[in-house]
Amino acid sequence: MAKEPTFETPKLKEYPVIPLIQEGAMQHIKPFVAKAEFQERLGFPGELVEGWKDVALNRMGELLSQYRSVQVFLDACVKCGACTDKCHYYLGTADPKNMPVARQDLLRNVYRRYFTLAGKYFPKLVGAVDLTEEVLEDWYRYYHQCSECRRCSVYCPYGIDTAEITMAGREILDSVGIGQKYSNEIIGKVYKIGNNLGLPEPALADTLEGLEEEVKADTGVDVRFPLDQEGAEILLVTPSADFFAEPHVDGLIGYAKVFHQAGISWTLSSYASEAANFALFIGNYENMEKVARRIRDAALKLGVKRIVTGECGHAWRVAYSFWNTLIGPFDFLDANYPQPQHICEFTHSLMKQGVLKFNKAANDHRIVTFHDSCNIARASRMGDKPGGQFVIPREIIKACCNHFYDMAPETIHEHTFCCGGGGGLLTDDLIELRVKGALPRMEALKHVVDEHGVTHLVAICAICKSQFAKVMPYYGFDRDMVISVHQLVGDALDMATTH
């Protein structure tokens, strides 16, 4: 490791500046390729297959017919340029291939060559290109410099979803045997052990026991962290980082305190000890279903009535937008609650009912701002009103914290910038990309730090939390500035009064 590659951290400017393009600025960046054993575990070839070109075009053809959206997105672009300066990776790296339109064109140009009449006969006229080894390498490079955050899609007049193009690109790469080590190794661990970390049941039990002791020592209250408890009302699925890492674990403590105060029985599952579903990132529905099914199976086995998901961005997208199709129906659960439910919805409704009492002064040493996670902001909702995914977390924060300031409007809500580590890019081999991609968020943060003395950046996604904790020191911010929504909740909850 540990000497990290040297590169220049972008300077934080007072106003965002669209950089002049630098051809090939990120040509040297590509993540490690997955080993054969991890590829095969997911049903992909172990290494680059013979006749890979035909296999790739075949798979592209299948995707075009299976998912009409992919073909529409490849056909619809008119090169208006609205997306070009919307991507955090372009803003942070200046590599023109990180402009969303250029990234899509890597696939689009090949699609034109083999799947459109004009491209078959007059390739040069329509910018169609042959699928060559160089193109394949560019796919691998630049489809792993997109975090599938979909900010560009918000600005696209045709609503082209760049993330779906990236997912299709990664799926084709996997189909010829070139997968990304980070994501594919992790999906394999879920199959083998039950979570991204590879945390086996005894270690999980030991960790949870330690947390019970810790909360008891801090508060004097017996807050439980139940595991595999049959007959509990609620199954909580949460990113395994919540068990393992800081600042995540304080969010987990916050959930447990909420359950305790509400007097509702809950449990974690050692079989489905992961909310994350990295198969979304690689655009592979078979694996996405397989990962998700563990949660349904665990819910049935434990006989729970509700499923609540913890603070994880893409997990909430998968749960909210894909679960019903992948692993539904949820007719075995209590019909009085949305299925699935986000922990913020859960806490928010208890708050509104007056079940939770907060001592806001407990957070008076913090001046906070909130980072909307891309998958929650642009691919899901919370509550029963449009925009609930923006309102609910903020209402929770304001209920337990006296000092809250939003960042600039063009950087929050549906316009939020990715943390720079989403979509399967939260890996050390992409550290340069992660640091540079964080630039727009860091600039917006700097602004509220200077203006309002903000001390903490609150997040509701395990990836955002880890990414910020890692890259913020590059920009002169302390890694301790990042905290969970439910850490604020846990710290402010009045544990003396019980339900």
Partner: protein, 110 residues
């Protein structure tokens, strides 16, 4: 990839984590630390040894709170926090310390 320790070639992954846990010896940690311009003190060894023992029992590195609690008990409450661990292992206690201890790299959203 591979590293050479005491004349023996040890296989590693792309980031220098040793591939076979049984290849580990204290010299492996010493050599990795030297490469990072880091000098291993007794306190570093407290962490490394705890990681190895925990891994032997649970087949995973300890969660950060398990680690800070254990180190706090051994070295004093003022050292039972991740700030102290970052002082010892500036590249991140979970990863750098695991690497020196011969453990695989923690994966996931960490």
């Amino acid at each position: 990839m591979a590293i050479e320790v005491n004349g023996k070639t040890l296989e590693t992954d792309e980031e220098g984590y040793i591939a076979n846990l049984s290849d580990w010896s204290p010299e492996v940690a010493e050599m990795m630390a030297t490469e990072d311009d880091c000098e291993l003190t007794e306190n570093h060894w407290e962490v490394i040894n705890f990681l190895r023992n925990y891994y032997q029992e649970y087949q995973i590195a300890p969660a950060v709170r398990v680690l800070t609690k254990a180190i706090g008990k051994k070295l004093g409450a003022d050292k039972g926090n991740s700030k102290y661990l970052y002082e010892l292992f500036p590249y991140g206690p979970a990863k750098q310390a695991c690497k020196y201890a011969g453990l695989p790299k923690p994966t996931g959203c960490v």
